[in-house]
Amino acid sequence: MTVVGELRRVSVSLGPGERRVAALTRIDMQVEEGRVLGVVGESGAGKSSLARSFLRLVAPEDGAVLFEGSDITATPERRLRRLRSRMTMVFRDATTVLDPRLTARALIEEPLRLHTGMGSGERRAAVDALAERLRLRPAELERRPGELGIDRLQLVNVGRAIVTQPRLLVLDEPTRDLDTAAAADLLNLLAELRTGGMAIVMTGHDIAAVQPVADRIAVLYLGEIVEEGATADILRDALHPYTQALLSAHLAADLTRRGRRIRLRGEPPTPEDRTPGCGFAPRCPIAENRCRSGAPTPNQVGTDRRVACLRVLEGTSRIPLTR
């Protein structure tokens, strides 16, 4: 299967001068055509940096970014620009990235103007066809961002990203502000696009937000991947303590799960709070002394799973649920 987007030992730092902090540390990740990669983490975990890295919207400090097999780590922005019709992004904040003066139609049409030689009639037809697929009504196409609800606005954002039929689509927390029904529709759309062969990376602060479509899930904590594997495997048997906590924090429809939780101490940290050793150790219910000194590296577990936890190899990383 063709690998479309790939990160090789990518590290990213953000912030000016002295206050520069590591947002991502040595990330290895890839997404193939017709596959959906879900990246899960709480705020400050580095989801947005990771999403931007795939598209070279941030320049990595270290490592390599590949798109369709070619290294674009050092490609100048002028040359990248031409690739931007084939690798696109849906940003986290649906409301502020759009030009408030343009109509939904003009916004969706803009990438076509930039990247294709289509005439205005062709573009119009293309947008109309896409709008039907997105279930945007004709009247809504003539409205401006300020006149559309957030659910509909997010469809405009997605439309803008897929109108050029990209090979790689990256979505940063696309369902965060949406109602359940609108989120389900968006996930359905992504499933359709996957069938069409698109490679998709989507982030979420909750495993449940990506699980309906993700083939694989990567869990991010303080800029590092703590667990990565096939969705079904992770849902059935999460190995990293943090993954287990995230799963137990999800509020499922299942009434029998009431009150059965892994309760973490404190709050999700920011990169400034990083302590030596395992980044999760300060909040981990089963941390040992060695976790606070030695940082675990992602270890291959079985054939298809990576977990960064010292206790995994001994098989003692599972936490019993408490009431």
Partner: protein, 314 residues
């Protein structure tokens, strides 16, 4: 019966458009009701109407809201002011913006106590410290001296819960108490709220867009759609046998149940009104008779507003 809202109707002042078209639900003492619905369904508006906080954007045009037998909608402003914060506690959406940015955290707690009865400063400070530590806030005395902007999101939300509970209300209304929080923090806050409501035997209303919150923390549920309650009942019954198509859909598309690839649309904009069942444009069961207002089917604890509802049938 702690709170009995009957056919509450509200309209927007600007254009006279109806915002709530007959909202009815009940809250029983010691039980928690989940008021669930989409953005714009009128959940927050319902809470504001009950507390008399609609003006100037909207106004009540009909219905009753009986709190321990007294109609809140017909109460004088002065009487309502005495109730608010004392017997009805309120936890608001945007935690951070809720706290007064130019008053220290401790002073806000003490002020909240002083609103409804004369206080002795030292005793009030002690009570504030006690309630903060019972909310699981570490080093409460230190936190009390801090400004709201110095607190972490989780602590802010704990303080907001403390503010709502400090006068020991009989009813607590929490409007999306965990919106925007991280998922592990969300769990902490909901656990805390749930525990305190149970421990103090307070009737609770949790307003949310996430049916998961209802499934995990509530006893009863009222589902709102387009300014109406379309289904109400005990959580176990509603989840086992949802009677309204909207409720059925909501349950079916919860992220851990959603099966993608069905090709069906669940969302979409609301219809331009015109009578009949408001859910009609989205409903997969819609028939001709749905152009007329649907009846309330079922009685007692579980009821739904739908022509096709069958309460109790498996």
């Amino acid at each position: 019966m702690l709170l009995d809202v009957q056919d509450l109707r509200v309209e927007r002042v600007a254009d006279g458009a109806p915002a709530l078209a007959g909202v009815s639900f009940r809250v029983v003492k010691g039980r928690i009701l989940g008021l669930v619905g989409e953005h714009g369904a009128g959940k927050s508006l319902t809470a504001s109407a009950i507390l008399g906080l609609l003006r100037p954007a909207a106004r009540v045009v009909g219905g009753r809201a009986l709190f321990e037998g007294q109609d809140l909608l017909r109460m004088s402003d002065a009487d309502l002011t005495r109730l608010r914060g004392a017997r009805i506690g309120f936890v608001v959406q945007s935690g951070h913006a809720t706290l007064d940015p130019s008053t220290r955290v401790g002073a806000q707690l003490i002020r909240a106590m002083s609103i409804h009865r004369p206080i002795v400063k030292a005793e009030a400070a002690w009570r504030a410290e006690t309630i903060m530590s019972s909310m699981g806030i570490p080093e409460p005395r230190q936190r009390m001296r801090e400004w709201p902007h110095e607190l972490t999101p989780s602590t802010v939300q704990r303080v907001v819960v403390a503010l709502a509970l400090i006068n020991e209300p009989q009813l607590l209304i929490a409007d999306e108490p965990t919106a925007g929080l991280n998922i592990t923090t969300q769990m902490q806050i909901l656990d805390l709220l749930h525990l305190e409501l149970r421990r103090r035997r307070i009737g609770g209303v949790i307003i949310t867009r996430d049916l998961g919150v209802v499934a995990q923390y509530c006893d009863d549920v009222a589902v709102m759609f387009a300014g109406q309650v379309v289904e109400q009942g005990p959580v176990a019954q509603v989840f086992a046998r949802p009677a309204h198509p909207f409720t059925r859909t909501l349950i079916a598309i919860m992220p851990d149940r959603l099966a993608t690839g069905g090709g069906r649309a669940y969302g979409g904009p609301l219809p331009e009104s015109g009578g009949g069942c408001p859910y009609r444009p989205r409903c997969d069961q819609a028939a001709e008779r749905c152009a007329t207002a649907p009846p309330l089917v079922g009685a007692g604890v579980h009821a739904a507003r739908c022509h096709f509802a069958r309460i109790g049938a498996a």
